[in-house]
Amino acid sequence: MLSRNDELIPHLFRTEFRKIVSVLANVFGLQHIEVAEDITSDTFLLAAETWGKKGIPENPTAWLCTVAKNKTKDYLKRNQIFQQKVTTALQRTTEQLTEMEIDLTPENIMDSQLQMMFALCHPSIPVESQIGLSLRILCGFGIDEIADAFLSNKETINKRLFRAKEKLREENVSMDFPTEVELEKRLYAVVTTLYLLFNEGYYSASQNTSLRKDLCLEALRLTYLLTAHKTTNQPFVNALIALMCFHSSRFEARINAEGELILYEEQDRSLWNKELIEKGEEYLNRSATGERITKFHLEAAIAYWHTQTENHHEKWSNILQLYNQLLQLEYSPAAALNRTYALAKANGYANAINEALKLKLENNHLYFSLLGELYKEVNPTKAAEYFSIAIKKAKTEKDKLLLQRKMNECK
């Protein structure tokens, strides 16, 4: 029984934490988000204890909701000062508040979660804090897990989250759904945070492979939530889901048992997850409506072509065109480097070397790694020189090892 609990509770924590905390924060107001967090955490603590002894209830979600509801009422009775604050803010009498039914209908749970996403991704707080808060509140991650994901320590993360909540209070950010005028902009901010949350898991230097997978999965789940609501089910939201599905399809193939990265070209393609690729295609099709092509559309289309194994030339030619468009929309060094690699594959190495030398990204070890890659066939000695510069510039041991291997291949 205990072993089942061990598996079930973290799983429920991930999916149920955000529901309860969002509904409660909606009742108390975002100003008192910590109270909502505390009550939710207490509820899960009690669940762990009780279920360990008595077994798991038939409907764990309903159990958690009932307990959270009771704990809230107890809290309000016990805590006079808080009660006064909230009653004043909500313009309700103490009696009304203690008698109040907390709305745990699926509709309100869904709405509250979306409102919470908009509140936590408010542009007044830095993006890394948005990601941290989202992991804590929307994904139920522990502080130590967040610290691990960011390669940081508990203290730093605690401080960061504390400051972010302070800022939300100072800025008077509320749980209200954005107005129609603001919606597109605010939604774009939410989607950008979810995109970064996914990347944090996908490209993180953290050795903890299962944690990284969890991060990606949670980002996917949250993005998926946005499609449940008519106003937030925008084409670019669907494009992001497609992107996440395509990337995730290579999860098993891109990391070996030792947690080391396996390069795209060297992956065992039979390990690519076909189901996720198909899901990605479905969402990519859904994203192909409306007037606006966003970077999520372009990146999803690039990721789609990466899932294709046939027709080498068509594939790279399409990837090149998509990178051309992406860079016109938004420059980034990573896109510039990837575009040049695609250029080599589509139009030949000589052309790509010429273009690569114009990029001038001398602070980036990946720039020298790209030059090494491009020179590998035409001039192995030169390639080895570039790889050796890349090794000196690389920041992690893992990157250095990978580059060392590449350099050795040039001899």
Partner: protein, 114 residues
């Protein structure tokens, strides 16, 4: 970095009807060239101009099309970021208009502060 405009000019070819594949190939060439500028972080904006146009004269007369009295027409433009005119001129190398019998005019953009 300052902004410069490159203006693509060539002789009008009103009867030229490219095949769809030729069009596709041409778009790719343009996009590869523009993509190369964008990969250096030097892209501003761009537009291709169509083939309908009217010209307004000072006396109020209007003539059809951009072709009437000119030897060459403007096919489009791109705005790029560059340190100086020579830097901008270097970016113009490889512009597909050069392989179509046309030429690129590189101009600095004046900042007007009202």
């Amino acid at each position: 970095m300052k902004e410069f405009m490159m203006i693509f000019r060539m002789a009008p070819m009103p009867n030229f009807q490219p095949a769809p594949e030729q069009m596709q190939e041409s778009i790719k060439q343009w996009q590869d060239w523009i993509g190369g500028i964008a990969a250096q972080g030097k892209f501003g904006s761009t537009n291709q101009l169509g083939f309908t146009g009217k010209t307004l004269k000072a006396d109020g007369a209007v003539t059809d099309g951009p072709y009437a009295e000119v030897k060459e027409i403007v096919g489009g433009y791109i705005i790029v970021k560059a340190n100086d005119i020579d830097d901008a001129l270097a970016l113009a190398k490889g512009c597909p208009i050069l392989y179509m019998g046309g030429h690129v005019e590189v101009r600095d953009i004046m900042q007007i502060n009202p």
